[in-house]
């Protein structure tokens, strides 16, 4: 079936089986491999992307459900090449080790900060509950998100 999405600001058309998940449409259909498939069971958050500004697990959404929506992947966060403030904060505060969970962490943080620009540590931890880091680098990840909030204020 046909599906039309606006991905990172560009209109894209795809022909997909109805059962195709959004993450597969992004990775296999559009070559946007920044959305990672980690657990594939809606636990780990590595596949998180923004759909109409809200963080969703793209392994738990049919591509067809996103028809007409604006999808932002990690590739779309820095369109001019200059890092997004949250990306910048992760670099500055060592918010990543292996980097596998990082796109999901950053996009979830972007959703959080769009609604709660000045979250305390507990709020950040609650918001990142659906994003697992197997390097267990949670402390610097939380510090990065907090730093991005402070930087923006």
């Amino acid at each position: 079936m046909p599906v039309e999405l606006t991905v990172n600001g560009e209109r894209r058309s795809l022909e997909l089986e109805p059962r195709a998940l959004l993450v597969h449409a992004l990775r296999d259909g559009l070559g946007l491999t920044g959305a990672h498939v980690g657990c594939d069971t809606s636990q780990c958050g590595a596949c998180t992307v923004l759909v109409d500004g809200r963080a969703v697990k793209s392994c738990t959404m049919l591509a067809l459900q996103a028809e007409g929506s604006a999808v932002t992947t990690i590739e779309g966060l820095a369109p001019t090449g200059e890092l997004h403030p949250v990306q910048h904060a992760f670099v500055e505060h060592h918010g990543l080790q292996c980097g596998f969970c990082t796109p999901g962490m950053i996009l979830t943080a972007v959703d959080l900060l769009s609604r709660e620009p000045d979250p305390d540590e507990q709020t950040i931890r609650h918001a990142l509950r659906g994003n697992l880091c197997r390097c267990t680098g949670y402390q610097p990840i939380v510090a990065s998100v907090r730093a991005a909030a402070v930087e923006a204020s």
Binding site: R19, T41, R54, M61, L112, H126, G130
Partner: protein, 270 residues
Amino acid sequence: MIPAEVRYRRATSLEDALAALAEEDARALAGGQSLLPVMKLRVARPSLVVDIGRLDFAGLELEDGTLRIGALTTWDALARAPELSTPALAAIPECASAIGDLQVRNRGTIGGSLAHADPASDMPAVLLALGAEVELRTAAEERSLPVAELFVGPFTTALAQDELITEIRIPLPGSGSGSAYVAVEHPASGFALAGAAALVRPDGSSTVSLTGVSATPLLLGEKGDGSEAVGSVEVFGDRFAPAEYRRALAATVVRRALETARARSEEERR
């Protein structure tokens, strides 16, 4: 993991959705946070998914002493709704904000969750304690059902194949009431090992309910502090929590939910 082959239809109206659901093995797809995981595991293999996610029955309305919650209202919307920031309704955002995670709350809907009927689901306990009813529609008829009658067994409801939940209706508790939801969650899955909701009214009377401990969520009755009633509940055990441990957890969450609801009620009346 991808679901088995399936056909897809994006419903354009409630009537369109209800007509499409007449097909045997058709399933309604709302936010997909319960249905898609079981389709990926191929525990569910519908022939057709009817996407109702774009239909216009999300949102909250307070009128004539009733809170009406559209079935497509997301957990995130319930967690943040200003209409629910009263002691009497506090259990709803308290429960909604702890369901799943941010991403799941952004997509998952209250109606979809009720229709999925996971026995460890949190919100049914709150709806039972608040005396909620669900509004149901088929192409031919409308009916309403107390939430207690919606759940027939684990993952099993009283819904007909071609029937949708359109709305949840909650009678507004009298002013000076307080409610609360308390759960002990499995640390990995976040599902309730035992969860309790309590409503305490201005006259001190209370209603307490439990989830996560038996085949369906259940009311513990109107009298006493609820903790005695836990003793007579048929509690199941599994590899996460043996029955006796779960029973102890149940007694604890009942006590905590009642304490918090009572404190909110007293605060409100002060």
